[in-house]
């Protein structure tokens, strides 16, 4: 079993839809939860970062962490064609130098005008 599971999609939605992206994980030591966005032919960029459980909102994006269920989500409201990208969840435990970070496989999202 992989430490981090993420449905690779692809996911296609119309412009303006609410998008839900999810990851599950098995390592209860994970405390830091990240979402990276990767445009085609580019490297990933950090989109959202959450520590422990709870919600975090940034504009149209909301990250949720449920540690009891080992489940994290990223919601995108009023999705735009510019949101079309691959979204990677990532998580790490305690190491301050990030060498324990584990990534999901990435979900490919297309938002159609």
């Amino acid at each position: 079993q992989k430490e981090v599971e993420q449905d690779p999609g692809p996911l296609s939605v119309p412009e303006g839809a609410i998008v839900s992206l999810n990851c599950t994980y098995s390592n209860s030591a994970f405390q830091y939860f990240m979402w990276y966005r990767q445009y085609s032919r580019k490297g990933p960029e950090l989109l959202m970062y959450t520590y422990s459980s709870g919600n975090k909102e940034d504009g149209r994006f909301t990250a949720q962490v449920d540690k009891s269920s080992k489940y994290i989500s990223l919601f995108i409201r009023d999705s735009q064609p510019s949101d079309s990208a691959t979204y990677l969840c990532a998580m790490s435990a305690t190491r301050s130098n990030n060498n324990d970070m584990r990534f999901g496989a990435g979900t490919r999202l297309t938002v159609k005008p």
Binding site: V4, M34, Y36, K42, G43, N98, N99
Partner: protein, 112 residues
Amino acid sequence: DVKVTQSSRYLVKRTGEKVFLECVQDMDHENMFWYRQDPGLGLRLIYFSYDVKMKEKGDIPEGYSVSREKKERFSLILESASTNQTSMYLCASSLTGARKAFFGQGTRLTVV
């Protein structure tokens, strides 16, 4: 604007060749990483360095080595390239204590 720069976007190499992938960061970060990205598998850590001349194996180090002679530069070496090393290679850097990693644009390596 902070930057992680990988020397090549695309590379085609022959089986058995020694391959060098170079990465430079301009942010004075202590930590540098090499990942490979494959469909359905996500990013997997090959090697990690937390200081000049210091390195640690990641999850899939077999067939690879690294070099970090200067703080800003981290090189990945494929000692004898094989077809199963055809992949997207991503370099990243981060500050100790910060959770944000900065990635380069990736090198798509094809071994024929």
